[in-house]
């Protein structure tokens, strides 16, 4: 009975293993079919070719950088890369300080500079705002449905908490979402406060244009006319700032030309814009759908004291359901902001002239209307925010207050050829290593060596599947270091089999019949294997958290294979040996089984053979073992 239960549990273990393997395969196949997975592991840059940059945020003075700011920095870099039109960039933080950027191909020096430069946040007045016809053609889904929902709240009372309200529209296109995954839709809604659109192309004079839909500025004036209108509006704006008429005209002409030429949906469009704080600027919204003509910079990001997000307090101080971003300025900024809001408030009848744009790295992140004259430097931006999007905007604003540039720590460029070569050589090395281990274990353990081989094969299959699945679900990429880890793991995995087999041999030497030797040997070996694997796993864990990114893969695969080793030993090797021990070949201690008691110099001891008979120590040993094994089998079948 006992025997048959052992046999059953062995079979159950093997079944569990098959379930695990099938499950992993199904997962990998499913992810390939319905997701964006693949049937091969994802390769790291050093095997696939590409560039890895490690950037470190640089601060001026004694400022320290917080984790939120590092995350912000990651978003900014992602934005910059997206603006460059590079797809498949991977950006991660490391050690809470450095930022690791992996991009396929090799960046040019200009692109690198664009990545490294400090981010600039500026406040500029809006002169013209419109959906980019290019963008809307490229993304037909980009019709701004719905109307402005923002509520205008009372104006500059004694408290001075005016509320420039960003009037949100519904989200634009889906494809632009894909391009700019870092920013959730809601924020974009806030950043495109597309005042009913046709008006954007309307000259400031207020010539009444029947507001056409944004997608069809169609019956609209010719390009030349539009340009002229924009020029006129910009010029008026600049003169309003006290510019000389001639100078304003020249600047306006240039910006109008830029504006017409600007195609926001094109990759790298924002990058190409020259950003001079003293001049008006034609640029795009962060969503790359809205185009703007903006006035010269009036307030610098460094004037921002703080930006927070949350629910707007109601008149009695209790929170309302309106999500706001509260913005406060430093002393110098206060006065400037008061002047700006005062001027814009006066233009309330002429949208979009009453809006001011917050421009981060040349892209407009939000362009709220001024609904009050704010003199105390505490503004509140509301609109169709979610609590998350508000938080993000607040972070962006805060970030602007702290211009961060990035120092290039390392740059690793691997050509695809070199990558392929490295992979080939790595696999070759692994194969040779595997072969050597197989040969060695066959010599040492004879037939039992085949169990090692089979276990290694099972372990490789599971490892392959695990790495593939992790590549899809967690973006794990196999690097050269990872491949090294996998090869080294062959030895670690084979180690545990050796510990186990040696234990069985010890038990056989003590004179136990094989079936019993397997059980006792396993009990002792298990302890050792678990302890050893725990040590290895801790080591891998520590290495993973302390290693620099390029060798992290090593620690990861080492840890992964340690777990897989444990799984294979428990669910495959031991059950296999349990079952094999019951076969004639192994149970009888065949010369080639690797467990031949005679060869192992087993101690002979008196053994109860059943039916009141004893096997004497001096007697022929094989019959004794066979006897007991047979009895066992008989019992199992009974």
């Amino acid at each position: 009975m006992a025997r048959s239960s052992t046999k059953k549990s062995a079979r159950r273990s093997l079944l569990a293993l098959i379930v695990v393997i099938l499950g992993l395969s199904a997962l990998a196949a499913g992810l390939t079919k319905w997701g964006d997975g693949s049937l091969t592991p994802r390769l790291g840059l050093d095997l696939e070719g590409g560039t890895e940059l490690v950037l470190q945020p640089q601060l001026t003075g004694t400022e320290t950088i917080s984790e939120g700011q590092v995350n912000r920095a990651v978003d900014i870099i992602r934005q910059r890369i997206d603006a460059n039109g590079v797809s498949e960039a991977e950006i991660t933080t490391q050690g809470g300080r450095s930022i690791v950027v992996s991009i396929p191909g090799q960046p040019t020096a200009e692109q690198l500079d664009a990545l490294k430069k400090p981010s600039q946040l500026r406040f500029r007045a809006v002169y013209v705002q419109a959906l980019d016809p290019n963008a809307s053609q490229a993304n037909p889904g980009a019709t701004p449905s719905g109307t402005a929902t923002g509520t205008a709240t009372p104006s500059g009372t004694a408290t001075g908490t005016g509320t420039p309200t960003a009037t949100g529209t519904a989200t634009p296109s889906t494809s632009s979402t894909a391009q700019n995954g870092a920013v959730p839709d809601a924020l974009r809604a806030a950043t495109t406060p597309a005042t009913p659109t046709g008006s954007a192309t309307t000259p400031a004079a207020g010539a009444t244009t029947p507001a056409p839909a944004a997608t069809t500025p169609a019956p609209a004036p010719t390009a030349a006319q539009t340009e002229a209108a924009i020029k006129a509006q910009a010029s008026t704006g600049l003169v309003g700032l006290g510019w000389d008429k001639a100078k304003a005209d020249a600047a306006a002409a240039k910006v109008a030309k830029d504006y017409t030429a600007l195609n926001c949906s094109k990759a790298g469009a924002i990058d190409a814009i020259a950003d001079d704080p003293a001049l008006p600027l034609a640029t795009c919204g962060e969503d790359r759908v809205t185009k703007y003509v903006l006035g010269p910079s009036e307030i610098d990001g460094s004037e921002i004291a703080d930006a927070t997000s949350g629910y707007q307090p109601g008149p009695n101080g209790q929170p309302t359901s309106i999500v706001e971003v509260a913005l406060s300025f430093k002393d110098a900024g206060k006065a400037k902001f008061a002047a700006v809001t005062k001027r814009l408030y006066g233009l309330q009848s002429q949208p979009p002239l009453d809006q001011f744009a917050v421009v981060l790295d040349k892209a407009v992140i939000t362009a709220p209307q001024a609904r009050a004259v704010i003199t105390d430097g505490r503004a509140s931006i509301t609109g169709s925010f979610t609590i998350d999007s508000a938080k993000q905007l607040a972070e962006q604003l805060k970030f602007g207050a702290l211009p961060i540039s990035f120092a290039l720590q390392t740059q690793d460029n691997i050509t695809p050829q070199l990558g392929k070569e490295q992979l080939r050589i790595g696999l070759l090395a692994g194969l040779i290593g595997l072969l050597l281990v197989v040969i060695y274990s066959l010599i040492q353990y004879r037939a039992l060596g085949f169990v090692t081989v089979a276990s290694l094969v099972v372990a490789s299959v599971i490892t392959y599947l695990a790495v593939t699945v992790l590549g899809t679900t967690h973006g794990f990429r196999l690097t050269m270091a990872g491949v090294t880890g996998l090869i080294v793991a062959i030895g670690v995995t084979a180690d545990s089999f050796i510990v186990y087999f040696e234990r069985i041999r010890d038990e056989v030497r003590d004179g136990r019949p094989l079936v019993a030797a397997v059980e006792t040997g396993w009990k002792r070996a298990r302890r050792t294997i678990i302890a050893a694997d725990a040590v290895n796993f801790i080591a891998a864990g520590v290495l993973y958290f302390l290693a620099s990114s390029n060798v992290r893969g090593f620690a990861f695969t080492l840890g992964l294979t340690t777990l897989i080793d444990l799984l294979v030993v428990m669910l495959f090797t031991h059950p296999m040996v349990q079952l094999l021990a019951r076969t004639e070949f192994f149970g009888n201690g065949h010369k080639w089984s690797g467990l031949d008691p005679q060869r192992l110099g087993a101690k002979e001891s008196v053994r109860y053979r059943g039916r009141g008979q004893f096997g004497a120590p001096g007697a022929q040993r094989p019959p004794a073992t066979v006897g007991s094994a047979r009895i066992a089998d008989g019992k199992a079948q009974a």
């Binding site: 020096a109 720590q409 460029n413 040779i432 040696e502 136990r512 090593f554």
Partner: protein
């Protein structure tokens, strides 16, 4: 091929025995010499740090058909692109030239182009890596922090696992021994130390510990038995344990080294310096040294540490008074081989028999009258009480 099974049998029963414990002074001396050499290497010759630590640029030009005068070509290309300082170039593999220079920073692009032109390859065949000067510092800091965290964790694990600080200390000494010797070998041979080799060094610690855990496991088992049966001294029991695990130690070491050796060979002949080679070289040296230390250093040290414990001394006295059983160490010509076998295995399997019989289920329990050997003879009161 040596017949390991036969050797293993003999080592297991104690028929053949290597005196690891008694000759501890020899091993200590050997290790002391090695460590002294290593320290000389580290402090006199100095370590050869890779550009990852000092900052610099490395270019790899692939597919070079004519490697003649590659050094001049590389130098020319680098200085043409406006990078000062020395240029070190080497040929790795068959057709790749590796060029190391001062940090190229903004000029990486130009340098790649110049190199491609000089060697007559396409620009896409030139790989470049740039390491900023402050990077190395953070890498070293990380490595040192890693080492400290690792050692602390390892000490905790050992103390928990073995529940005695003496074992933990012996294991730690063995670890440091491995680390110093491995780094010393790096210094003496001038191997380049990169972040990858740093990771390799840390991995060695795990490996060395693993080996020590396995040996100590057996030591603990055997010595517990020795305390119970009072058949052999503590050091004899420990020595037997090392002998019994020797075959396993050799096997696991060989199996661990084989794939790494393959990587080393392939990496060295085909790929040249890089993550693969750096990691495997560190591991190869470290695992080999680790196997040595867990056998020759850790266990003798443990015995020495415990030598003066009252219980151990009492056991030694007892065994001396009652005569050590003949299986202890080096008794090839033992007059009674049968007794030898019985004793040695009795020591090893005694606990197992006690603990495993009830739970074993499968094996039929042997009737106590059927068991041979002196253990089941009627106990005679000890001489002192007669």
């Amino acid at each position: 091929m040596i017949n390991f099974a036969q050797v293993g049998n003999d080592l297991y029963t104690g028929k053949r025995s290597i005196d690891f414990i008694k000759r501890q002074k020899t091993w200590y001396a050997l290790s002391a010499v090695l460590i002294a050499l290593a320290l000389v290497g580290i402090f006199v010759k100095g370590l050869n740090f890779g550009i990852e630590f000092s900052g610099g640029s490395e270019f790899r030009v692939q597919g070079v058909t004519n490697s003649q005068g590659y050094e001049e070509k590389a130098q020319a290309a680098i200085s043409k692109s406006g990078i000062e300082g020395n240029v070190i170039s080497t040929i790795v593999g068959q057709d790749t030239v590796r060029v190391q220079s001062e940090a190229a920073s903004d000029r990486t692009d130009e340098a790649s182009a110049a190199l491609a032109q000089q060697f007559g390859v396409d620009k896409s065949a030139v790989s470049a890596s740039l390491i900023g000067p402050s990077w190395g510092q953070s890498v070293s800091q990380q490595a040192i922090r890693g080492l400290i965290v690792f050692l602390i964790l390892v000490t905790i694990v050992m103390a928990l696992y073995f529940r005695t600080w003496k074992m933990a200390v012996s294991g730690l000494v063995a670890l440091l021994h491995d680390l110093v010797i491995t780094v010393g070998i790096y210094a003496l041979f001038g191997f380049e130390i990169t972040p990858s080799s740093m990771i390799g060094f840390l991995t060695i610690l795990g490996y060395s510990l693993y080996d020590t855990v396995v040996v100590f496991d057996k030591v603990r088992e055997n010595t517990a038995e020795a305390f119970r049966t009072k058949r052999m001294t503590y050091s004899a029991a420990a020595n037997l344990a090392v002998n019994q695990t020797l075959v396993r130690s050799i096997n696991t070491t060989v199996v661990a080294l084989l794939p790494i050796a393959a990587v080393l060979f392939v990496g060295f002949t085909l790929l040249g310096p890089g993550t693969l080679l750096d990691l495997s070289l560190a591991l190869f040296i470290g695992i080999a040294v680790g196997a040595y230390s867990s056998i020759f250093i850790a266990t003798p040290l443990l015995v020495d540490l415990r030598r003066n414990e009252p219980a151990v001394r009492e056991l030694a006295k007892y065994v001396e008074r009652h005569g050590a059983k003949p299986h202890v160490a080096g008794q090839q010509g033992s007059p009674e081989p049968a007794v030898v076998g019985a004793d040695a295995t009795g020591a090893a399997s005694g606990t197992a028999a006690v603990s495993s019989v009830p739970s074993e289920g499968g094996a039929r329990p042997v009737h106590k009258y059927a068991q041979p050997g002196p253990r089941n003879q009627p106990k005679r009161a000890p001489k002192s009480r007669r």
